[in-house]
Amino acid sequence: MTSAAQPLDSAAMERASRSKTLQLLGILSGFTAGAWLGAAEAPTKLVSTGISPMAISLIMVIGVFLARWSLPALILGTSSIRADVRRAPHLIIWAILAGCLWAVANTLTIFAIRDIGLSIAFPLWNSNSLLGIFWGFLFFNELRQAGWRRWTGVLGGALVMCVGATLLAIASSAQGPAGHSFRGVWAALGAGVLWGTMYIPYRKAYLTGMNPLSFVTFFTFGELGMMSALAIGYTGFAPLWKELLAARSVVFWLMLGGFIWVIGDLFQQYAAKYVGISRGIPLSNSNQFWGLLWGILVFGELHGRSSSTYAQVVGGSLLMMLGVGAVAFSSASGEEQTRWKEAAQREGRRYGVAADYVEARMDGRQAAGELAPSRSVWDWLLVAAASAVFVVFATMARVPQMSLHWGPAALLVAALLVLLFICTLALWRTTRFH
């Protein structure tokens, strides 16, 4: 009796320990995502006005496109992406759909900021995490059988973060609304709904076993295609081209912003994979806190402002950290994870994806019989071509004349690199990026 029960117990304990490790990995990925997504704003601050927001978005998305192909090729190789697509080809549709949702939401935020100002617009579209929690619960069994303590932690944490974000947005807004308030509120709410709904494809892909590195390569076709269509539709091809040519000296900074954003987004994808969208999204929404740190410490944005502004910043930051802590300490219980697995099995059955593949990928392992990823000469060529584009634009870039505080900048860069190193190492050791 005892000898038969012992291996069973040991297997169950191993599963529980693996699951706990993956949860911690997801939380760490969420933190790292917040830091890198927030830092993505820094290069864009080097760009002075004179370029339309639509052109700025398009140039950033071009940088994002290059990064979304070169980083996965560098980390795992495109053979791994092809293998993923062969196993679950239907997910390409969701990846492109998610990219389109992102581009439309991003464009709506431009209108929202213009019409009602950042301080009102940001909290409205930041509600996307609440919608993410709702979709996660409704469609993917997240927070099912989680108990009131975890519900309070996740929902309460997300709400506290929204309040903190509101305070930070009020403190960081430079000017008041410019009119058309009704239109601006609709634009901000619309962006929140689009971004919140974008997490449905994310979660669907990761429950079915797709690697985040594969998902983002197709996501970016939707992102670039929709952004190009919107930019051409709004500006016209010839004026847009003229504007892009005139912006040659700042293209590098904007593309660099896009590149940094992709690193943050990759960690956000791993967070969504290992802790679900209900927890992963609020954690990575801490990017606003990091963005403000860059703004205040490096660019001196609040210099000379009133003490009440600083009080708002301190209060908002504390609330953000409190909310992040509440979400981070509400990791999924064993019962909830069983419900996640049920959702994953349902997806596998519906689309004919092998159950062992789905299960292995949920555990961050390679499936049995799956070939080890390898890089070919094409992958290196892809990386070299993307790097060459960045180098060419770097040679054209002009360093703007503005006062920067290099000490805090060095500290923030060091913090980013430490987080990148720790999180990458943890992902590599635990999952080999599967």
């Binding site: 949702l101 939401a105 464009t107 709506l108 239109r183 634009a187 689009l194 709904t197 974008m198």
Partner: protein, 41 residues
């Protein structure tokens, strides 16, 4: 034979996508977003 099998699998996959609520919710939200953008102009 294999080609017929592949075609059947593709057709069935497409029908699974088109009857999946996870597909239609983002599609509807995307169309609503585009509509909202056109009003913004």
């Amino acid at each position: 034979m294999e080609s017929i099998g592949n075609k059947k699998a593709s057709a069935s996959r497409l029908s699974n996508v088109l009857t999946d609520v996870h597909f239609w919710v983002p599609v509807v939200v995307l169309l609503a977003g585009l509509l909202l953008l056109s009003f913004m102009r």
